[in-house]
Amino acid sequence: MSRTRFSPIDILGITLGVLAILVVVGSIVAIAQGRMFDLRWSIPEGRGFWNGQEFSFGGSVREEKDEQVPADVTELEVRNIAGSIDISASAPAASVSVHSVKAAPSQAALDRVHVEIRKVGTRLILEEKHEPGFLIRSGTVSFQIIVPRSMKVMEAHSVSGSITVQGVDQTVDQVLSTISGSVTTNASRNLDASSTSGHVEFASAGNAVKVHTVSGSIDGTLDALSKSGSATLGSVSGSVTLNAFSQLDAMVNLHSVSGSVACGFPITITEQKRNRLNGSIGSGAANLDIGTVSGSISINRE
């Protein structure tokens, strides 16, 4: 009976092979769970030199700042790169309150992150700015903003961070977009919301509603839609659930590539398949278009 003998080269090769398998399996798990944005590596704080210049890395420092801006503005625009945006409204506020939290792995990195606040006409603009720097790990900025109820337009954009709007009236037009993170607004008039990899939850009572996600689901409430109004909801791999007011009067176009469609309203059907439903609710005055690729669609009557 022959016995397999392993040479040192065999042992080294098999060890490296097993190590490579573990790296691949680990990366598959991290990618599948969408955790690439959540992973934070704890690198000890240190200093180094590059091209004659000192740089620091690792560790973590924070800086919080409160600013009050006179409330003579009716529009708010927030542009963030990494970090969350929370907007809420308080009854008769005399000013816009901006609470920003900067966080970075080192003081040098923190000093390169700035929050710019400026007014252009009636619009208040808050913007996260980064100074470029090689081998300087950038920081994040989280905004908590309290606005007066008299605000008419809100625009918030983030690259990596969630956006939340709460406590505002149904008279505020909103444009909310993020690449990675969820978008939530519990009241809005006209709404344009999008997220690439995040869930969108909304409530709207406007004439124009546009909500799009790529890998997240959409969960919305339509409190009103005028006869000339239009609502378009779309997702690639997420499902769409819409709770609509009982007097909804709209031409409905629900279409999914591989998911199911369901409508809780009495509908005059013009076309029906397992994954497609066209027809009119009421006289079909407004336009309601909902599409997904692999998710299901459901409209419920409130």
């Binding site: 490579a20 790296v23 990618i31 690439m36 590596w41 690198i43 081998l135 790990r137 950038s138 990675s180």
Partner: protein
């Protein structure tokens, strides 16, 4: 003599495959560790190096399987032996 030469050629081929895999795996691990460090020393947020680790890793694992587990020579030899055994059994019957 020719049998000996064939065996020697096969052994050389297997050894070459193993050494090539070891070089490949070492460069893979060094580059991936380097990318992970660059990712986390600079931006630190989105872990983009995982895509490289995944894509290139599939190639490295395939290389590992072909170099150590499914060496074409030994696989063919094993299959040939099995076929011979089958033939012998059918001859006996």
């Amino acid at each position: 003599m020719s049998d000996m030469n064939e065996k020697l050629a096969l052994a050389r081929s297997i050894a070459r495959r193993k050494v090539a895999f070891i070089r490949h795996a070492i460069s893979y691990l060094v580059v991936i560790v380097g990318l992970a460090l660059i990712n986390n020393l600079t931006w630190g947020g989105y872990q983009w190096w995982l895509w490289v680790a995944f894509g290139w890793g599939i190639g490295v694992v395939s290389h590992f399987l072909s170099a150590f587990l499914y060496q074409s020579g030994s696989l063919v030899e094993r299959l040939a032996k099995r076929e011979l055994e089958k033939m012998d059994e059918s001859d006996k019957v």
